[in-house]
């Protein structure tokens, strides 16, 4: 068991209670209610239709693909899919909100309660999902280009977002890290969100409260708006929880409010109090009919759901006898699991797992590459592993070959051939070689025979050296043992 995340002050222990509202951009070619493209990084105001810019008389039309994506995500979160849901208007004025309202879902979301399982060092933990609803993104106000005016870019306006609301089940910045990664992993498996935080595809509002350990009533929470990286979420939580504990320890009260995290100063500050909270005047959008679909529709979507991380992990453990830890690493990212499964099509599972989580991850880390950009293809890694397995090369030589492969996805069989790295496994050849080593080191042989047994390693080393590392170490061991008797 790892230690609970607790904040200590004056001998009192405080527990931190965290709930997240994650905004995940739906992976879709076009927007939620218009046919405009959603491509990231386009020139400002080039991905905007008359609907997105709220011209008079323009009407939203639901993009069915986005609905399907939300249903898929709901299924991935083991959640209740609501056959009837309603799009509401959330009314407020802002320069980058062209309609003067955001189309969202309020009382009747498309997805209800669900759960996500986290693999923590202390074991697994289930985090409740309150709901998932669909909504439009707003545009972007740019204040720092023109000294006098605010500029507005509507490319994002109308892009589909899924807001995934967790229950207040998270208890530490570390759990938040695992939770976000798990959500992202599930959505990437499903192909419903690319989870790219740099591009803003995944952002979160973080609700934080504290309470004395053992209390069963929640404290007053503050909401930290729009945090766009896991690191910032963790920093924000830590700062905010400590701020709240300080207030309580000073005999103060927490005000329910919305706060902003200043990444430069590493602190949260008040944005607006509960009294100043907007009255969004939610009401059902009369331009859209209630969203209704049949059980059959949901069933047909279920058939499209791929194997998800939890299932894959179980399968890896059961079928391949991997440890829970190894399986976790291999399934957490869809592309890693795909790579792994390609390698093991023709190769030993245990060796494959070791090589991927060891050498390959180190290489990717060093070069700062995703596994999809790996300089060594899964097929070639598989060949390398087979060369080790069948004794063609030793594990040590394999590392050299691996380095050469990384230069530009070369076939390991060719490398071994070209460089003459094939392992020497001919017993007669090896015997000759070992005899030579023994002859040249008679003094050491004497010492060995008189009881200095740890010198055995010296002879192995010498034999390997003489062979240029190519000697089959197992055979060298066997022959040496015989000869030194």
């Amino acid at each position: 068991m790892t230690k609970d995340y607790l904040i200590e002050r004056n001998g009192k222990k405080y527990e931190v209670v965290i709930g997240l509202e994650v905004h995940a951009q739906v992976l879709s070619e076009s927007k939620l209610f218009s046919t405009s493209p959603t491509k990231f990084g386009s020139e400002p105001n080039t991905q905007v239709s008359l609907v997105d810019a709220a011209f008079p008389g323009m009407l939203p039309v639901i993009n069915e693909f986005c609905i399907k994506q939300a249903i898929k995500t709901g299924i991935g979160l083991n959640a209740k899919i609501n056959n009837k849901s309603i799009f509401d208007r959330k009314n407020y004025f802002y320069a980058d909100l062209p309609q003067g309202y955001q189309i969202s879902q309020y009382k009747d979301p498309i997805v209800g309660e669900g759960s996500v399982v986290l693999d923590l060092a202390s074991g697994s933990k289930t985090v409740g999902i309150e709901r998932l609803h669909l909504e439009q993104d707003a545009g972007k106000s740019i204040h720092d280009i023109d000294p006098k005016n605010t500029l507005v870019d509507l490319n994002r306006s109308g892009v589909a977002l899924m807001e995934i609301v967790s229950k207040p089940d998270l208890r530490s910045p570390d759990e938040v890290n695992v939770y976000i990664k798990k959500l992202r992993s599930i959505m990437r498996y499903l192909g419903t969100c690319d989870g790219n935080m740099q591009e803003g595809s995944l952002r979160a509002d973080v609700n934080v409260s504290v309470r004395k350990k053992g209390d069963d009533k929640y404290g007053t929470r503050c909401e930290i708006k729009n945090v766009n990286s896991i690191k910032f979420m963790q920093m924000a939580i830590e700062h905010e929880a400590n701020r709240q504990v300080d207030i309580l320890e000073d005999g103060g009260k927490i005000d329910q409010e919305t706060r902003l995290f200043d990444t430069k100063k590493n602190e949260t500050r008040s944005m607006r109090s509960k009294e100043d909270a907007h009255d969004y005047r939610y009401f059902p959008d009369p331009d859209l009919l209630p969203l209704e679909f049949s059980d059959d529709y949901v069933e047909s979507i279920k058939k499209e759901i791929p194997e998800l991380p939890d299932q894959k992990k179980s399968r890896f453990i059961e079928k391949f006898n991997l440890s829970s830890y190894e399986a976790n690493i291999l399934v957490s990212d869809l592309d890693t699991s795909k790579y792994f499964e390609t390698v093991i099509e023709n190769s030993d599972v245990k060796l494959s797992s070791n090589w991927i989580t060891g050498e390959l991850f180190a290489l990717l880390n060093e070069k700062n590459l995703e596994i999809t950009e790996s300089p060594i293809s899964a097929k070639n890694l598989s060949k390398l592993i087979n060369l080790i397995k069948d004794g063609t090369i030793s594990g040590k030589i394999a590392k050299t070959v691996f380095e050469m492969m990384a230069e530009g996805d070369k076939n390991p069989i060719d490398i071994v051939k070209e460089k003459g790295l094939k392992q020497q496994s001919d017993p007669k050849e090896l015997e000759k070689l070992i005899e030579k080593v023994i002859n040249e080191n008679q003094d050491k042989v004497k010492e060995y025979k008189s009881g200095k047994e740890k010198l055995f390693g010296f002879f192995v080393g010498q034999a390997m050296k003489v062979s240029g590392g190519k000697a089959n170490p197992q055979l060298v061991n066997e022959i040496l043992k015989k000869k030194l008797k």
């Binding site: 008389g57 309609q99 003067g100 009255d279 005047r281």
Partner: protein, 486 residues
């Protein structure tokens, strides 16, 4: 051949098809007449030059297979028209030129019609007298002191004064039927979902519906046939098999059961209206229909319900007019200041009143008591109609509680103004089709209308009933052309 301006829409189409008259003859006749009728203030925007050009184009390469071949038509300035200024009669859109065309107007042009111009209306279609337009009051051709009704007042005035052979309006609470009734013309509000709302400046999305305004029932059938279409750009558009309303028009309504709802006999209703209604029943009997007394118990809640639902939706629909993207803007010290100045100067009083009402009824703490309750009552009103339509085929009511009133008479009394819509509003709340036909004159010699309400998507039936009644009523109303000048 009779005078061009005396021909109905259907007759014009026929005469153009038979090459008795050219599109240019018709178009220039209407343009000349419109130019002499500026005192009515019916037009917001004239597109006469383009219309003449299009008419000439049509004549040089005529396509007689179209339903509105070469006929010029002016439309309410609530329909977005490509490259033609569209203002909704509001200062806030005074400089707005759409780059797109509403589906309904596109349907007209696709079937050979030619745009004559954009007609005045109440600002954002909010009003019952056409006195809320930024471009000034529209005058009824019946009398220079008289309102034409609203909100499609410019349409009604232009139609009655024969500045256009037919026109289209929009009806959220009676905005087609009430001005039709006030001006002795025919106005049809189709079933919600029949005509696409795409490209129509929105007032109250769950109630708005475009419809024809014409000189007679046959023209209404023809125009509806062209206007109505399934449109996947409007999620509330309904995909049903649309009849050929004009071709299938029939005077055979023998055995049809017509309901007379007792709740429409409101307190203080004039004897003239009572008599008009009785006459209507008798005409129907003469046609072989059966009169049945029915009850719509929640009728008295319709007006308050409407004045919660419509402003609520409007308050949100009009949020987009904020000075940021298009339309009128007053600069401010900051964003909020700009919003406040823009919207204060850009909207008129009636629009502001409704935005405030709508904002209020949606506010937290008031939502349940107003908006939610209104939605529940709306459901009850719908159910009333559904129940009755188990027993009857259509319902006959007066269109309005009185004839047209004087300009300024009610403009400072919103509630008395709102009461004008008492017979038309329930139809919008229930999403049903309703048609107003001229049925007589009051003592002052002003027209009065009767309304026929039908089942959902049963426009053919109410058109048939109206068609046969029209025959019996034989409404004659000769306007003195006092407003014309040379």
């Amino acid at each position: 051949m009779s005078n061009i301006i005396d021909l109905s829409l259907s007759e014009l189409v026929l005469n153009i098809k038979n090459k008795k008259i050219s599109s240019k003859d018709v178009t220039s006749t209407y343009i000349e007449r419109s130019k002499k009728s500026k005192s009515l203030n019916a037009y917001n925007e004239e597109t006469f030059d383009t219309a003449l050009k299009k008419a000439a184009e049509f004549d040089s390469k005529p396509d007689f297979n179209k339903k509105l071949s070469g006929v010029p038509i002016a439309v309410k300035d609530l329909f977005c028209t490509k490259n033609v200024k569209t203002t909704a009669s509001s200062k806030i859109l005074n400089n707005f030129i759409p780059t797109y065309e509403s589906t309904v107007t596109q349907n007209l042009w696709n079937d050979g019609a030619i745009l004559l111009g954009k007609l005045n209306c109440d600002e954002f279609a909010m009003g019952s007298s056409n006195e809320t337009s930024y471009f000034g009051d529209v005058i009824s051709p019946i009398d220079k002191d008289l309102v034409p009704g609203g909100s499609s007042g410019g349409s009604a005035s232009a139609l009655a004064a024969k500045l256009t052979p037919a026109t289209i309006g929009t009806d959220t609470g009676g905005s087609i039927r009430q001005p039709a009734s006030f001006t002795g013309t025919v106005g049809l509000k189709p079933t919600y979902g029949s005509c696409s709302r795409y490209g129509i400046v929105a007032f109250a999305s769950s109630l708005d519906q475009a419809g024809p305004m014409t000189r007679n029932v046959k023209d209404a059938a023809l125009l509806l046939e062209v206007m109505s279409s399934f449109d996947n750009k409007d999620s509330t558009s309904v995909d049903f098999k649309r009849p050929m309303y004009s071709k299938d028009l029939s005077k055979d309504i023998k055995g049809k059961k017509i309901g007379i709802p007792k709740e429409y006999r409101v307190d203080g209703m004039s004897e003239e209206i009572e008599k008009l209604w009785d006459d209507g029943k008798n005409y129907l009997k003469d046609c072989g229909a059966e009169i049945v007394d029915v009850s719509l118990p929640h009728t008295k809640f319709a007006l308050p319900t409407y004045y919660i639902v419509a402003p609520a939706e409007a308050s949100s629909n009009l949020a987009r007019y904020d000075g940021v993207k298009y339309g009128f803007r007053t600069e401010g010290d900051n964003l909020i200041d700009m919003y406040e100045k823009t919207r204060s100067a850009g909207f008129g009083d009636e629009v502001k009143r409704r935005i405030m009402i709508g904002t209020y009824v949606l506010s937290s703490g008031y939502y349940d008591a107003y908006y939610l309750k209104a939605q529940k009552v709306r459901r009850l009103i719908k159910n009333d109609f559904n129940n009755i339509f188990q027993k009857v085929d259509a319902i006959l009511t007066p269109s309005t509680p009185s004839s047209a009133f004087k300009i300024g008479e009610k403009s400072n009394d919103p509630v008395s103004m709102y009461l004008n819509d008492i017979f038309t509003v329930p139809v919008n709340l229930a999403g049903l089709p309703g048609i107003s036909i001229p049925a007589g004159l009051d003592k002052k010699g002003y027209p009065l209308g009767l309304q026929i309400i039908g089942k959902s998507f049963d426009e053919q039936n109410i058109l048939n009933i109206a068609y046969s009644m029209e025959d019996k009523i034989n409404f004659k109303f000769n306007l003195k052309e006092w407003w014309m000048n040379d």
